[in-house]
């Protein structure tokens, strides 16, 4: 397979606009929760496998396209109300930036760990989205609200997962993005600047998502909250992610 074709293929899995639309269509059309979760984790890994096999120098337009894609989806995510779509857009905006370490010659092993640690909080979010669909028939913000009062355990987990997904310390995405800033600030400040701008947009979008779901009065109808063992499972994964983030900070920074 030619290298140009590989770059295009990689642009599907480490999503670059307009190839990114394919990933978002797949996420949107997949209804099975398990399949969705698997796609979220496997998709960027496929991208890393492909870019690891590209031997030619990357085209000059790649960095502008990476930054454009990331910013485009960071802006678009602000008005999304469907939690699953929201997750797909955030994934696109985040994973597009993985091209920067690729271009800087980061080792494949490290790229795999970047991809997995960025994907895990998104996978948790997709499963929570499924949980909302089961309980309310749709996973939409500003539709029912008041989850903090209606299903407090569920909303507690949701908040922490969103916080982890939008690259908050001490989760791995924070350190990955920090590392990209460190690596690019002196030589390519435009990359750092755009990344930081997008980081701000993700925080904004995250806050809108949280507010659209948890704030408001409690539902009059009794809704089943998340079971305690499930909360424990989420907590273990999130603690593992936080520990992984701290470990990663020692390795990459």
């Amino acid at each position: 397979m030619s290298d140009t074709l590989l770059v295009i293929l990689a642009g599907i899995f480490l999503p670059l606009f307009p190839m990114s639309m394919l990933f978002n269509a797949v996420i949107d059309k997949t209804t099975n929760a398990l399949a969705r979760s698997i796609i979220i984790v496997v998709w960027p890994l496929c991208g890393v496998v492909i870019v690891s096999n590209i031997t030619v120098a990357q085209p000059i337009w790649l960095v502008p396209l990476v930054l454009f894609t990331s910013t485009l989806y960071a802006v678009r995510i602000l008005t999304l109300r469907d939690v699953t779509q929201w997750t797909g857009f955030l994934a696109t905006s985040l994973w597009a930036l993985l091209w920067i370490p690729v271009l800087q010659g980061t080792s494949a092993e490290l790229l795999y760990s970047y991809a997995v640690s960025m994907a895990l909080p998104l996978m948790l979010l997709v499963t929570l989205s499924t949980g909302l669909q089961k309980r309310f028939g749709a996973a939409y913000t500003d539709l029912y609200g008041g989850l903090a009062r209606t299903i407090p355990r569920f909303s507690g987990v949701l908040v922490v997962v969103v916080v982890a997904a939008v690259a908050t310390p001490v989760f791995p995405s924070f350190f990955i993005l920090f590392d990209i800033v460190v690596e690019t600030i002196a030589t390519e400040p435009a990359i750092s600047s755009v990344l930081l701008l997008n980081w701000l947009l993700w925080s904004w979008a995250g806050a809108r998502l949280i507010q659209g779901l948890i704030v408001g009065r409690a539902s009059q109808v009794k809704i089943l909250d998340m079971a305690k063992p499930t909360v424990g499972l989420y907590a273990i994964v999130l603690l593992g992610l936080a520990a992984g983030g701290l470990y990663m900070s020692g390795e990459i920074l």
Binding site: L72, Q85, L196, G250
Partner: protein, 559 residues
């Protein structure tokens, strides 16, 4: 000793974890654990401060190489004690105040996490720990302000705080990345040592690295300390619980002053940046005070009062009086914390008895019975202008003979003079029956305040910056061009004196205004009552971005 500081920082984390895990078993009484742990932490922080006061050298303890460093230095230990003290008061207050809340335990978890984040922030000895804790303070504050999950308004304004704090996080991240690139270490002590040895070795984008970093640190501090244009979140975040307001106004908002102090070895080589910091602080102090005076809502007035104080604090940094900013932070924290926490009690007491003594102030302010006879205004004007100046000069001469060689000192004297003069001026305007008694009390209180301020700020100076040469360097770095400085002082003096004269004139003429001056005044009032349209501009900008986002989604079929 290092273990002591680490214990202080880790205790709130343990408490938070304990409450989170065992709240179900122990019920609401579990918050006593949080109070007990905070009390122990406060006592330990006082011990650490005592050791630091005895003159021990700063100690750094690292967890992994040049990351995860806890720095035991005067600034860190002093602020750790202040944070623990304020946190303890807020904890004690919250035990009853928040008792009706559904998420009672969760509130204490957040409070403990916030205490831990603040502690790690002030004792951070490396850039990574500093950035992480700095960032987390903003995130935790968002959730503390949104404690009432039923209130859309609380979350709306909590979001303003979050986004402003995030704006402030970005320059700090950039500064950290630039410093690491230049010095290949995250350790603040090492970086500062290298900067002190060779301040202008590194350049970035054709500018000295120290100046670029100083600008970025300044921006981060501005966002955190609500400087003008980054201030809109502060007056509007009153929908959060009162203990959170107290914690925010007494502690968190002061973080800008801390950050500038932490990076003092960078600022000492960035004189121009300090000049700009002074101007931003000055503008904030003026705008904050102006907006405070024109608010109808008492809570917003308090918010703008804090903004004005933050302006003064940043201004103090801008004139090289770094340690004074820390003293200001402490004094303002205690003052504002007391105001917030006692507000509920005062309202409750006032329902039974207003408690206002029927003295001269009451006669003047409430019963509107001013004395018709007045003292000669020329005599009073002379007292107004001269007495505060004499008090300030004498007090400062007690500290150091060469004090007036420093521009920063002159600026502080100037503000002290303005404040004192304003006090006597206001006393004159009260038309008291016994004017000399009130003037005497005003002068006495001014003497007490000035002497207290001079001696305590000097003590802070000696404790935080024991190296006299470094202190002199800081003042020198903050110096303005002499001509510009003199012009600034003279113009400001003239404006203030003109303001007083105009007030005298207006009073003499019974506040009569011409048509044009009335229109001008109304326009000015409209401008202030709309808070200079800053919030409106941000709201418009926000709506534009959201509209663009929605339009893009429609065009691209939500894919």
């Amino acid at each position: 000793m290092e273990r002591l500081i680490i214990t202080v920082a880790v205790l709130p984390l343990i408490s938070a974890l304990f409450i989170q895990l065992f709240a179900g078993q122990f019920g609401r009484s579990i918050v006593k654990v949080s109070v007990a742990v905070t009390t122990i932490g406060f006592l330990l922080s006082l011990v650490a401060l005592g050791v630091a006061l005895m003159g021990n050298d700063p100690v750094a303890m690292s967890m992994t190489g040049d990351k995860g460093i806890i720095l035991f230095d005067p600034l860190g230990t002093l602020l750790a004690a202040i944070i623990m003290g304020i946190s303890l008061i807020v904890h004690l207050y919250s035990v009853r105040y928040m008792a009706e809340e559904e998420a009672y335990g969760q509130f204490f978890v957040l409070l403990d996490l916030m205490t831990a984040a603040l502690l790690f922030m002030v004792v951070a000895g490396d850039l990574i720990t500093l950035v992480i804790s700095w960032y987390l303070v903003g995130v935790l504050l968002y959730f503390l302000l949104g404690q009432d999950t039923r209130s859309q308004t609380a979350y709306r304004f909590a979001f303003w705080t979050l986004i402003t704090y995030r704006v402030g996080d970005l320059p700090l991240i950039l500064a950290a990345a630039l410093l690491f690139n230049a010095y290949d270490t995250w350790s603040l002590t090492t970086i500062f040592a290298e900067i002190s040895a060779n301040p202008y070795t590194h350049q970035i984008f054709g500018l000295p690295l120290t100046e670029v970093v100083a600008v970025l640190i300044g921006l981060a501090a501005f966002a955190r300390s609500a400087q003008f244009l980054l201030h809109t979140w502060l007056p509007y975040t009153m929908d959060g619980p009162t203990p959170v307001s107290a914690l925010m106004h007494a502690g968190i908002v002061n973080a800008g002053g801390f950050l500038i102090n932490r990076f003092a070895p960078v600022f000492v080589h960035s004189g121009d940046v300090l000049n700009w910091i002074f101007i931003v602080g000055l503008i904030t102090a003026i705008f904050g005070s102006l907006l405070m005076l024109t608010q109808n809502d008492i809570k917003k007035a308090l918010g703008y009062s804090t903004m004005g104080q933050m302006g003064f604090m940043i201004m103090e940094c801008g004139i090289g009086a770094f340690s004074l900013a820390i003293y200001h932070m402490f004094a303002h924290g205690v003052f504002k914390g007391t105001m917030f926490l006692s507000a509920g009690g005062v309202i409750n007491d006032a329902r039974h008895d207003d408690g206002i003594p029927k003295d001269e102030l009451y006669t003047f302010a409430v019963e509107k019975q001013p004395n018709k006879a007045r003292q000669p205004w020329l005599l009073m004007a002379a007292i107004t202008l001269v007495v505060p100046l004499v008090i300030l000069v004498l007090a400062h001469l007690l500290i150091a003979q060469d004090y007036f060689q420093k521009q920063g000192a002159v600026v502080l004297l100037f503000f002290g003079w303005v404040t004192g003069a304003q006090l006597i001026f206001a006393t004159y305007r009260m038309r008291s029956q016994n004017i000399w008694r009130l003037v005497g009390l005003s002068v006495l209180s001014l003497v007490v305040v000035v002497l207290g301020y001079v001696f305590i700020s000097h003590a802070f100076d000696l404790f935080l910056y024991p190296d006299e040469a470094f202190r002199a360097q800081l003042y020198a770095a903050a110096s303005f061009d002499l001509l510009r400085f003199d012009v600034l002082v003279v113009v400001t003096t003239l404006i203030i004196v003109f303001g007083w004269l105009m007030t005298y004139y207006s009073e003499q003429n019974g506040y009569r205004r011409t048509q044009s001056s009335r229109r001008l005044w109304l326009n000015f009032y409209a401008l202030i009552s709309r808070e200079f349209y800053v919030s409106d501009i941000y709201t418009r900008l926000t709506r534009t971005i959201l509209a663009l986002s929605g339009r893009l989604n429609v065009w691209l079929r939500w894919l």
